[in-house]
């Protein structure tokens, strides 16, 4: 696909643990077009956050990105020198984290932190940097931004802090923003506001957004495209409508069924039996096999990837891809 803001090909990240090598991100490929929001969905431990960090090249020892390409507007981050990669971060690709209580430095004023992020890439005066920060806060809908800049993080509410984090990520108008569960820690009403804001920003600025989350309900209303991750692999991907409306992987089906708001009321909520497997003790073949209602002996071998627009990694896809 050409013209993609972000294209990830065969990304693989491994961690050296006491129990041996663990592949947290296993041959992950996807692409996001400018202005689109891609939901990267999975349970805890599925490797979705590690995927986000791997895109920015922020994997520390004992972890290691062992293969793949990460292209931002066609430029491969994986081939860059560490310093060139650092200069891409914040400028062309940036990230927002889960807990807004933790992502801002508690002892520095919001404006100083944001100004630092401006000045690391652009040689402007401190005053000009504060002005840029103020404008960015305005963009994300923060009232009285000049006052907020002088505040310390603890003087702001959680939703406000997350807006500050998003504004910081937006400072250099990056092509791609990785958002790692940015609304999980917020109240539902604040969450709705932030989601609407993010949707608007993606539409207006053309920024491509990777929305990492375990919350299918959020993603189904926000994202254009969805990738479902399980045990480090993308098991299904497609447009949000296709994945939610006609899931092809039994795991996706299970996820959708266990979301209360996507489920008819008055009936017991189905669950996926068992728990996410430990990456160090993955079963042979399809990692979902022990929990899968459709598992057969065939599933002891590595599952194939079926389909082009709505590919699925399964021996027994639930539906055939419409021709």
């Amino acid at each position: 696909m050409s013209g993609a803001a972000l294209e990830v090909r065969g990304l693989t990240t491994r961690f050296e643990t006491r129990g041996g090598m663990v592949t947290a991100v296993n041959d992950v490929s996807f692409s996001v077009q400018p202005g689109r929001i891609m939901g990267l969905v999975g349970e805890s431990g599925s490797g979705k956050s590690v995927t986000g960090f791997s895109i920015l090249g922020l994997i520390d020892k004992p972890g290691e990105i062992s293969g793949g390409e990460v292209l931002i507007d066609g430029e491969d981050l994986r081939r860059m020198t560490p310093d060139a990669l650092r200069r891409m971060r914040g400028r062309r690709v940036s990230m927002v984290f889960q807990d807004p209580m933790m992502t801002l430095n508690p002892v520095l004023r919001v404006g100083d932190q944001m100004a630092m992020a401006v000045r690391v890439h652009d040689r402007v005066s401190k005053r000009a940097a504060w002005e840029r920060a103020r404008a960015a806060l305005e963009t994300v809908g923060i009232p009285a931004p000049a006052e907020r800049l002088r505040a310390y993080p603890h003087q702001l509410s959680g939703g406000m802090r997350q807006r500050v984090a998003i504004a910081t990520a937006l400072l250099h108008r990056p092509s791609v923003i990785i958002a790692d569960e940015p609304t999980t820690a917020l109240d539902v009403s604040i969450q709705g506001q932030i989601l609407a804001e993010v949707r608007r920003l993606a539409d207006e600025t053309g920024t491509a957004i990777v929305w990492v989350t375990h919350d299918l309900a959020v993603v189904s209303s926000l994202a254009d495209d969805i990738c479902v991750m399980y045990a480090g692999r993308i098991v299904e991907s497609g447009t949000a409508e296709a994945v939610i409306g006609a899931p092809r992987h039994p795991y996706t089906r299970g996820l959708i069924d266990s979301v209360p708001s996507l489920h008819p009321p008055g009936q017991p909520l189905p669950q996926i039996p068992g728990a996410t497997p430990q990456l160090s003790h993955l079963p042979a073949g399809c990692p979902f096999r022990p929990r899968c209602p459709k598992a057969s002996d065939l599933c002891r071998t590595d599952p194939p990837r079926f389909g082009r627009d709505h590919p699925v990694l399964c021996h027994h896809p639930l539906t055939e891809e419409p021709a």
Binding site: L56, L58, K61, R86, R87, M88, R89, G90, R91, S94, M95, F97, D99, M102, T103, L104, N105, P106, V107, L108, M116, A117, V120, H121, Y152, H154, A165, T168, A169, L171
Partner: protein
């Protein structure tokens, strides 16, 4: 802020008062100074006269109130050994200790904090492991032994530095200090290094622990995701966050070193207050002991107050409301 200061000062007065009672009773319990001071051949008459002169025949509580009344008039008493006012005695010795402690704290901080930062930044490097090993040595090997080694090496074998005593006193900006002369520095450097090793070890470990912890926090990850360099992250983000425990220990160490630099001062025959207090304990020079210990209490109270004020400057979340 003003209310806070007033509350703190009121607390300080209570603490000093309580401490004066404890010290007074403690010193009383150690022994009778007359037994040490007086010539064993003196007649019973002279002995009784001296006891009366010092007021040692009075009950403890009356001695204490006499002491308080004198303090209220600015009189801390006269040394029984040197026969000069205690305040003059202590303040004649204080500058020597002050300069020794300042130099040693400077050494400990200027080496300890950068070394700790590095050890926390690259915890698996060989240099970091060497730094940590040295820090363990720094606070586990006895001070007097390292002091003697330093003297052996630099004074006896190499003969480049003097083995003890305070050097020439010069004047700098109207302050008389041996730090104004080269000779003064040559005398202060060995004992200062000796005194700094323990503190350096402490600083290294504290800084390293803070650094390791801080590098894992989300705000550091977030700063990295913004493309900040590691240098900017460490000096703009991390250092300020980890400085609070460092400042605490810095303050406590400053106080205890000023008060009890005894071992180093003895090894290097440094004419400071640490030696003075040990001598006066041995000679049961009560006024010196009491005055000195009360002074130490005031010193600690002041240092803690300053540390609290620095906290509030460093961390905006700290509010100086309570008095604790």
């Amino acid at each position: 802020m003003l209310g806070y200061l007033i509350r703190r000062l009121a607390q300080a007065v209570v603490v000093v008062f309580a401490m004066s009672i404890i010290v007074f009773v403690g010193v009383y319990a150690i022994g009778n100074p007359i037994d040490v001071l007086i010539d064993p051949g003196a007649t019973q008459e002279i002995r009784a006269k001296l006891i009366a002169q010092y007021g040692l025949d009075q009950p403890l509580w009356r001695q204490y109130f006499t002491f308080l009344a004198n303090v209220a008039q600015g009189d801390m008493g006269t040394s029984m050994v040197y026969n000069i006012p205690v305040v003059d005695l202590v303040f004649s010795r204080l500058p020597a200790t002050l300069e020794l402690v300042l130099v040693s704290i400077m050494i400990a901080t200027c080496i300890g904090i950068p070394a700790g930062l590095y050890a926390g930044y690259r915890p698996d490097s060989i240099a970091a492991k060497a730094i940590m090993a040295l820090s363990v040595l720094g606070f586990s090997v006895p001070t007097f032994w390292i002091g003697m080694l330093l003297i052996m090496t630099f004074a006896v074998n190499l003969g480049v530095l003097p083995s003890g005593g305070r050097g020439d006193v010069g004047s700098f900006l109207g302050i008389n200090t041996s730090l104004a002369t080269l000779d003064g520095w040559s005398h202060v450097i060995l004992p200062a290094i000796n005194l700094s090793l323990f503190k350096m070890g402490l600083m290294i470990r504290l800084t390293r622990a803070g650094m390791v912890e801080a590098m894992r926090t989300d705000y550091v990850k977030f700063a990295r995701a913004q493309g900040l360099t590691d240098r900017e992250i460490i000096f703009s983000h991390v250092l300020r966050n980890i400085s609070i425990p460092i400042v605490t220990v810095f303050g406590l160490e400053l106080g205890s070193t000023l008060a009890f630099a005894v071992v180093t001062e003895s090894v290097f025959t440094w004419p400071g207050v640490g030696k003075l207090i040990i001598d006066s304990i041995l000679q049961l020079d009560r006024p010196v002991m009491v005055t000195y210990l009360v002074l130490v209490v005031i010193l600690f109270v002041l240092i803690n107050l300053v540390v609290d004020l620095v906290y509030a400057r460093l961390d905006p979340r700290v509010r100086l409301k309570g008095g604790a």
